[in-house]
Symmetry: C2
Subunit: 303 residues, 2 copies
């Protein structure tokens, strides 16, 4: 295999497979990403022919999870669904990363079924990038951005190590880790935040509790919270960025992809509504994550 | 007493008492609010003399909680602290509302000690106004904005009734109540959100789960969540509004005051860093809340 080949679930997302094909061609032609499409061969070849494009490799997947099906049970019931065939490419070492714009729950289910968890991980989390110009690397790694709505303090402590590994793969030398909270002082927050603080306290680059303004000011490179608060926080920033006319967060390509951390391989999710440019950006992020062998680094940090 | 007289803790806030006096004069002169200052008489009379202002009434409070003291234990230890004397004006019916720019914890402690809770309320919450032009009344009532970091579903169900009462006092005829969540579908969210949804489901004006973008779009007039998530949400919007240059939320006068709901009287908190304009806005909001007899309406809704 190519050590950087990225598989794209061409049937995931609201505008599949057209947008997936456009995004994959863009990623190859503009950014040199080595992409393989996963989906029904005839449909994908036709889409490429219509576009007059030099063909991308295709791995056939005969099943599609329909719009009316529950995505998670659909994925479980269909071993030949494109996202599952893509996940097995990772498990077999035939691709180095998988991107899907299908539902996060479905992609997570496929990853758990066909790739599995890293040792010691109970449930994987979602690591998203918040584009914060003042942070090292121009982005803050947010873990958990929505994987586990209810989490224990030891899970959040693991997120700190996972987020640290991701920031390093992105080129940040000494990432500063902060705990999202309602005040900077120790002892602030809910029971989960206080217990997590106690676990992280004394860590070399743990900067303590951070409030939203400190996050936006670039005071941390990795931001830890439970998946409920993290998802509300992420969506609040996105909504505010829209409402206040800045569109900075929403338009940023990097936000187009989030990594499922805790899986024994590189799996990324993109928005269902992602356009070709965002799919291409997701494929680029996947390429970076694959080159840095993120899941292996996370396994080392958790060991 | 005047049914609308508002007591101002003149010693609360970072710039007390100068800013408090300026804000009180502004509220009286520009908005016709009937204000009484609470604090050391000589200091307050001197501050008014320096400003050449027509005097405001003063109720003497001989003790001050110092900057170095823990505000909550300081308030407990000092029955003659200005915030406690102010709270007793409410309890005695000598003022209709109290505003303090001291710490929320200290003001809450004073309110609990000298006024007490409404029947059936375990712990009061903080009701803040998010200035959302598209919402009825131009603002969304957020409960809890930071009172109780850990809350039970039955507390959140009570917040819905408290927030409804507040929205009505502000003139909204049929407030729409939503639950802050990470997805619109029933079943979304953490254990607290799911259990709260079950309690609120079927309520006449309960619109269900709302994500941040729906909140900013004005889809609800009352937004319910636990105090941890609510405070992170509020601060995320404020930080984004600053970072994205809009300053709409941060500059809005109404946001200057939040109501402690669940107290058997009208008690409002303002920012420690509030300027005179924000103090004046807080006094105006207090006047509205007093005129609407919010705590009595809440008691009726909880009965």
């Amino acid at each position: 295999m190519s050590s950087r080949r990225v598989a794209l679930d061409a049937m995931g997302g609201d505008h599949a497979p057209g947008t997936a094909v456009d995004g994959a061609l863009l990623a190859r032609d503009e950014h040199g990403v080595d992409v393989v499409l996963v989906g029904p061969g005839d449909q994908l070849h036709r889409a490429m022919a219509v576009r007059g494009a030099r063909r991308l490799p295709v791995v056939a997947a005969s099943q599609v999870v329909g719009m009316a099906e529950d995505p998670v049970s659909g994925v479980r019931a269909k071993p030949s669904a494109s996202v599952r065939v893509g996940a097995r490419l990772i498990a077999a070492g035939e691709a180095a990363a998988l991107v899907s714009a299908g539902s996060t729950g479905a992609t997570l289910a496929a990853a758990l079924l066909d790739i599995g968890r890293l040792p010691g991980v109970r449930r994987p989390a979602v690591a998203a990038l918040l584009p914060i110009p003042a942070a090292a690397g121009g982005a803050v790694v947010l873990v958990d951005a929505g994987g586990n709505a209810d989490a224990h303090p030891d899970a959040l402590a693991a997120y700190a190590r996972m987020g640290d590994a991701y920031a390093r793969v992105r080129g940040v030398v000494a990432p500063r880790v902060g705990l999202l909270n309602v005040g900077a002082e120790p002892g602030k927050g809910n029971a989960l935040a206080r217990a997590t603080y106690a676990l992280l306290d004394g860590g070399e680059r743990f900067v303590g509790n951070v409030e939203p303004d400190a996050v936006l000011a670039g005071d941390v490179d990795v931001l830890i919270t439970d998946g409920f608060t993290g998802n509300v926080f992420l969506k609040a920033l996105e909504a505010a960025s829209h409402a206040f006319g800045a569109r900075r967060l929403a338009a940023d390509g990097e936000r187009a992809a989030a990594v499922l951390v805790g899986i024994a391989g590189e799996v990324l999710v993109s928005h269902g509504a992602a356009g070709a440019g965002q799919i291409a950006a997701a494929l680029r992020t996947a390429s970076t994550v694959a080159a840095g062998r993120l899941s292996q680094r996370i396994a080392e940090r958790l060991a």
